[in-house]
């Protein structure tokens, strides 16, 4: 059992939680993830580690309430327990030798992009951050990003926060203005990562993406998280989750990601009703 020691709503659908897991906190690095189960009988879901405090023995996760499991998780309060919390899994994001980096975050993906930006900043790299959200209400981690970025661009789909437009608009402008990066690191929804990669390919800038496919065990056993990268089969859980974005077959990843959409919709409905009943 793992205790939730802190909980904060970052926006109406995104929750930040700190979970007491001293052994994981001791080992965790940016880019790695955990697999958790909320309760007995619950499903196993992967969540990328947003932060960790080695002294306090806590691991921070930031998640969007999109399905039944994240809804159940969001309903937990500080002091409550979840049954399983496994990690740190996957390979850490490679930051060695990077001196100029553009970090691109989309939506809740910013929760994973932020620790990477922070680590690069601490290592002395020049960090340009471009983050995008649908609207003002959904913006998360703005101050945090500003603190660790040499340049910061906030984009929104409707123009209610920062600039009106997509992250690719800002990135294209930077590249057109002659900015050169050792690497672009893009973390967000699959379509965003796909279009960032399409853009950076034109400018021939190496781009790393963090993939978040459906997983069960997270140790290489089930093969559910397999992707095609450079024409070869890769498992996100053990070979990733970071990959060379120019090699990833995003269309395949999107279709695999939607395999259980109907089931998920039903489960979400069911969880909604259950949580409503509990609240009554």
């Amino acid at each position: 059992m793992y205790q939730i020691i802190h909980k904060k709503a970052l926006n109406p659908t995104v929750v930040e939680m700190k979970v007491s897991a001293p052994l994981i906190a001791k080992r965790a690095e940016p880019g790695q993830f955990v697999i958790l189960r909320v309760d007995e009988g619950g499903e196993r879901i992967p969540l990328t580690i947003a932060d960790y405090d080695r002294d306090a023995g806590s691991v921070t996760i930031i998640f969007q309430t999109v399905g039944a499991t994240t809804m159940k998780l969001a309903a937990k309060a500080p002091g409550d327990f979840i049954v399983d919390f496994v990690g740190p899994l996957g390979r850490p994001t490679a930051t060695d030798g990077l001196s100029r980096v553009a970090v691109i975050g989309g939506g809740v993906g910013c929760a994973i992009a932020y620790p990477v930006a922070k680590k690069l900043h601490e290592l002395g790299a020049v960090v340009h951050s471009v983050v995008g959200f649908r609207n003002r209400e959904l913006v998360i981690l703005e101050d945090e990003f500003r603190r660790v970025s040499d340049e910061f661009y906030l984009m929104s789909d409707d123009g209610s926060a920062g600039e009106h437009g997509l992250v690719t608009d800002a990135l294209r402008r930077l590249l057109d203005a002659g900015e050169r990066y050792d690497e672009v690191i893009a973390i967000g929804p699959l379509p965003m990562m796909k279009f960032v990669c399409k853009l950076t390919k034109e400018y021939n800038v190496k781009t790393v993406v963090s993939m978040n496919p459906i997983m069960i065990d997270g140790t290489g056993m089930c093969g559910c998280c397999r992707l095609t990268v450079g024409g070869k089969m890769k498992f996100a859980c053990v070979d990733g989750p970071d990959f060379d974005g120019h090699e990833v077959d995003f269309d395949e990843a999107m279709s695999r990601g939607s395999m259980y959409r109907e089931f998920e919709a039903r489960a979400r409905e069911h969880a909604c009703n259950l949580l409503k009943t509990e609240a009554d």
């Binding site: 196993r44 740190p88 069960i216 089930c222």
Partner: protein, 461 residues
């Protein structure tokens, strides 16, 4: 006088109609009278060949003799001397190619039903002595076991009996390894595994789940924490794929994924949180026990048509005869001498068919089996909405990659001497992590052998 009937007492089973719709255990077990009748068929050979056919050399005629005298506890203790998981092995051991294949009664008629008798004795024991502990004084030495599958459980049990303070680390949220994620409920009820694990806990073995050794702690960390020896029983969990086009379409599963969703995560239950695709026409590629398990699970989930697609012939099917028979009775179609060449998808990248080619058997290959050869122009499409790849597994590289000085074979197996000793001092290994995918009983035997070697190693320090 022995019972000279040439026939083995039948094992009662659920009817194919009944069982193909549920996950209840298929084989129901002997009644007491059937067990006693079967036990009377044993001739109690002076030099019993059955014992040599058993990978862990259970004193078979001795346990059967006790059984005949209604001394069920005595029979159980004879088996326990050699086996840590009698209720499991009585169900999943391929007895027909091991002990029973050597039985003298098998020369004229059926062998003695040794596996069925073992199961009877174990079930009887678990019903009458739940969670009994053999409290043994601890010797103060700590041993870590990595992986809670058959080899790890066997190693843990033997070490605990010798007085060691044993901790088992398991990556998943439930202990049991392949016994819980792989073998389906209808072949090995999970309650049986829980009883076996409960017995170990009663003996003082500690289980730590959610612990991926190689990530949260390394093998070196375990030594630093005060463990004097480490046993690696991490199995062979990495699924193989065919590398044919379309293998990543939605609707293509590895058998590991499919079985894990069904068995470990309980996806067959209507109220399960873990989803599984409710498919109608399924092709399972492969001919081993795992392929049979996956096919029979798919059927139980409501599929209308389930096929085994295997590139060699009936004779070459590596699965146990009993499993093949059960699968056939339940209505699984066997498409033999058939090899998939591509998975075909629709515009949504979901599986719509498996493109296959017919094969014929040529000259024997390195494995001694006749090599399947494609028949030109025999390609055809098998319409399916799900494909399950059951092509075998290889060892997980996580421990190898994070443990310096641990020698492995090119294909990933950990190198050991005959007793489970690895190239690293104090590190032992056994089971599928060493041999590649094999049987529960071989893994269990390797765990027991390593327990002896660990005992000798710690005593010699």
């Amino acid at each position: 006088m022995p019972n000279m009937s040439p026939k083995m007492n039948e094992m009662p089973t659920l009817s194919p109609e009944e069982r193909s719709k549920c996950f209840s255990e298929v084989a129901l077990g002997y009644t007491e009278s059937a067990a006693l009748d079967e036990a009377a068929r044993c001739l109690h050979c002076k030099n019993p060949p059955c014992v040599t056919g058993c990978p862990v050399n259970i004193r078979i005629p001795d346990f059967i003799a006790r059984l005949r005298e209604n001394d069920y506890d005595g029979a159980y203790s004879v088996i326990s001397e050699s086996s840590s998981l009698p209720a499991v092995c009585g169900r999943v051991c391929p007895q027909e190619t091991q002990c029973e294949s050597k039985c003298v009664r098998g020369i004229k008629g059926d062998a003695v039903g040794i596996g069925r008798l073992e199961r009877f004795v174990a079930d009887r024991h678990n019903e009458t002595h739940p969670g009994e502990s053999a409290n043994k004084e601890k010797n103060g030495h700590r041993v870590a076991i990595v992986g809670s599958g058959p080899s790890g459980l066997a190693c843990a049990g033997d070490l605990a009996r010798m007085g060691y303070d044993v901790t088992v680390f398991e990556a998943l949220h439930t202990a049991g390894g392949v016994l819980v994620y792989g073998i389906p409920e209808f072949r090995l009820p999970k309650s049986i595994v829980r009883v076996e694990i409960g017995n170990l806990e009663a003996m003082g073995v500690k289980f730590e789940t959610d612990m991926v050794i190689g990530r949260i702690l390394s093998v070196d960390d375990l030594f630093e924490k005060g463990f004097e020896a480490v046993f690696i029983g991490t199995g062979a969990g990495l699924p193989k794929f065919m590398n044919i086009p379309g293998e990543n379409y939605s609707g293509v599963y590895s058998a590991n994924e499919f079985l894990t969703r069904v068995n470990l995560m309980g996806a067959f239950r209507e109220d399960a949180d873990t989803p599984i695709m409710r498919v109608q026409r399924v092709a399972v590629v492969g001919g081993g026990n795992v392929a049979m398990d996956a096919a029979r699970c798919a059927l139980r989930l409501g599929a209308q048509e389930v096929s085994i697609v295997y590139r060699r012939g009936e004779e070459e099917l590596p699965a146990r005869r009993e499993e093949i028979e059960h699968a056939k009775e339940e209505g699984i179609t066997f498409r033999l001498l058939t090899n998939p060449v591509a998975v075909l998808g629709d515009d949504k990248r979901a599986v719509r068919a498996l493109k296959c080619v017919k094969m014929t058997l040529g000259e024997p290959d390195a494995s001694g089996r006749r090599r399947p050869v494609e028949i030109d122009g025999s390609e055809y499409e098998l319409p399916v909405d799900c494909v399950i790849m059951a092509l075998g597994t290889s060892p997980n590289p996580l421990i190898k990659d994070t443990t310096e000085g641990l020698d492995t074979e090119r294909w990933g197996g950990i190198v050991t001497d005959g007793d489970g000793k690895t190239s690293r001092e104090g590190v032992f290994a056994g089971g599928d992590a060493v041999t590649g995918a094999a049987t529960v009983i071989l893994a269990m035997g390797a765990g027991k052998t390593a327990a002896k070697a660990i005992d000798a190693y710690i005593k010699s320090k």
